[in-house]
């Protein structure tokens, strides 16, 4: 079982990202789950979303998770949210930031000695999509770090998921995914 936790603000697209990822993974014959903690959260409030992936049907409905990947798509949440909660020894962190990896770890010492990757999903989404919707670039970074799919396969699969959107938006998302795939360190 592969487990992923997203840290996001309501409105940044973590739920859409988690569901989009689930959609692509389900098409490879695997079983998926995508959910989020909502409460009465308003736009801008810190929230978490989750993915589970397995080779057999997923029966686990607990919200508690020890994630294999933690995806932080809002830069400030690295400092204000408990992003290392219930971590495993080998949990991988992919964090949106304009800082280098060393600068990031210096600014948030609890990431020391952890498997940390950085990518500036905010800048990438502003440059490509024109809005601060960092979910698509984060998926590009995750695909690279996890080796889950090759870039072309994933882009083609995402084109299917996004098929109801205008071509311009699909193209922008493809560019965002590709840039994050190449830039994540």
């Amino acid at each position: 079982m592969l487990e992923i936790r997203w840290h996001s603000r309501a409105g940044q697209g973590a739920v859409t990202g988690a569901k989009g990822l689930a959609d692509v993974v389900a098409n490879t014959g695997k079983y998926v789950q995508a959910f989020a903690f909502y409460g009465s959260a308003k736009r801008g409030a810190a929230m978490t979303a989750y993915n589970r992936v397995d080779d057999k049907p997923i029966l686990n409905h607990e919200k508690y998770m020890r994630p294999d990947y933690v995806l932080v798509i809002d830069p400030a949440l690295t400092y204000t949210a408990d992003i290392t909660a219930n971590e495993k020894e080998d949990t991988k962190y992919i964090i949106t930031t304009h800082l280098s990896k060393d600068e990031l770890i210096k600014s948030q010492p609890k990431l020391e000695n952890k498997d940390v990757y950085v990518v500036d999903c905010m800048k990438i989404s502003l440059d490509t999509i024109g809005r601060a919707i960092p979910n698509a670039p984060m998926l590009g970074a995750l695909i690279k770090v996890s080796g889950m799919f090759d870039l072309e396969y994933f882009q083609n699969a995402m084109k299917r998921v996004l098929s109801k959107f205008p071509q311009k938006i699909i193209d922008a998302n493809m560019a965002a995914i590709e840039r994050a795939y190449n830039e994540v360190k």
Binding site: K19, A22, A26, Y31, A34, H61, E62, K63, Y64
Partner: protein
């Protein structure tokens, strides 16, 4: 003529999306609805399907849930197939009309994304609304995941509308934990689904003006008791139709449904009895106990009403200790499942140790670890043949432990 909706063999749908497609495919004449979290996307999607040309029926936007169910009952009396969706406070407001629907024998289908009841206000999942409506004379079907919410919604029409049943049916799924959790769902094609559900057969239709009828009449002590007895009799006997529809669905899809959902109970010494998503989580906990050589099993309630007494007694007849798990504040007594499982066992001459666990209120997380702890208590009781724990315990509660008796 409604447009055909292209579906993939495997969709990734949350429970609400799954139910909204089942409603679209059931070719309903009238949906009267008022939105409420967490069931809102069911009717929101449905109205979008209609606006986009995928549905031929009528959608009535009403001013409250009381009116939503009243609209369904009225359309049903007129001779239409009807359905709606609700949760929590909306369900509570519908209660008066739920009894009207069942007493008038209108086969409305109500899809419920189960949620806590205020106060304090809470939008998350528990079974307070399900328990509030359990004596309303409806058939109650319970899903544990989005696929089952889809399947049971299609089956609900066929069961409720059967000429031997003609009673309304609810399909329950856990609010958020199922309604907003996307998982793999294999839908039927629109044509397959429509063929399975079948054409609606109006009975005593008010629009059949050559055969005038009256609905919603008054009966006092002269006839009221006979009407309610007949209604109860037909609800009890609807078991046979439910089983037949489950079998027909299995023939079509290879997906099997039973009145109770047994997991490794054949040789089990201890068992958890639950409703909803917890049934599936408990299977994971049972397997962990079995890895240690402890024979644990799970009984899931698939059909809450009519209550499957015989099937439950058969499934639990050799179990030594049973945990009945109620996701609803019991309000001054034991949880419903404790009372009903105890009644079923004692009524059949069985006396296993039965404990009651109140859990998960207002969406409180139910972890595999908590379920394992419940099995450990049961195992302790089963080995010593002694009830070593209080009859009623609250689990997952913060602060000092709360228990009774």
């Amino acid at each position: 003529m409604a447009k055909k909706y292209e579906l993939n063999e495997i969709e990734v749908w949350d429970g609400n999306t799954a139910v909204s497609h089942a409603l679209r495919q059931a070719r309903i004449d009238v949906v009267a609805a008022y939105p409420i979290t967490p069931s809102t996307p069911i009717v929101q999607n449905y109205s979008k399907f209609l606006a986009d040309g995928y549905i031929d029926g009528e959608f009535i936007m009403v001013e409250s849930e009381h009116s939503a169910m009243s609209g369904c009952v009225a359309a049903g009396a007129a001779g239409a197939r009807t359905a709606t969706a609700t949760s929590s406070q909306g369900f509570a407001l519908m209660v008066e009309v739920l009894y009207q629907a069942s007493g008038m024998r209108i086969p409305v289908v109500l899809t419920v994304a189960d949620r806590a009841l205020a106060a304090p206000l809470n939008v998350n999942g528990d079974h307070s609304d399900m328990y509030l409506g359990r004596d309303a004379g409806w058939i109650n079907l319970c899903a544990y995941n989005p696929q089952e919410a889809y399947d049971l919604t299609l089956m609900a029409f066929k069961i409720a509308e059967d000429l031997d049943v003609r009673l309304p049916a609810m399909v329950h799924q856990d609010g958020f934990i199922c309604s907003h959790t996307a998982q793999n769902v294999r839908p039927l094609s629109d044509a397959e689904a429509a063929k399975f559900v079948g054409e609606y057969k109006p009975v005593n239709s008010m629009l059949d003006i050559s055969n005038p009828v009256t609905h919603g009449v008054q009966t006092e002590e002269d006839w009221h008791f006979e009407h309610k007895a007949r209604q109860h009799n037909d609800l009890m006997n609807s078991k046979n139709v439910i089983k037949r529809v489950f079998d027909e669905f299995k023939t079509l899809t290879n997906r099997e449904y039973n009145l109770v959902d047994n997991y490794k109970l054949e040789d089990a010494d201890i068992a958890i009895v639950a409703i909803g998503t917890t049934v599936e989580s408990a299977r994971i906990a049972a397997d962990k106990l079995r890895d240690e050589g402890i024979k644990a099993g799970v009984l899931g309630i698939r059909v809450l009403r009519p209550f499957p007494f015989e099937e439950i007694v058969n499934a639990l007849s050799n179990v030594k200790a049973i945990a009945t798990m109620d996701r609803s504040a019991p309000g001054g007594t034991f949880g419903m499942l404790f009372n009903e499982i105890s009644g079923a066992m004692i009524g059949s001459g069985k006396s296993p140790i039965i404990l009651n666990y109140i859990y998960g209120l207002g969406g409180r997380d139910t972890t595999i670890e908590q379920l394992i702890e419940i099995y450990r208590q049961l195992d302790d009781c089963a080995r010593s043949n002694q009830r070593k724990y209080p009859l009623q315990q609250f689990i997952g509660l913060r602060g000092p432990k709360l228990s009774f008796f």
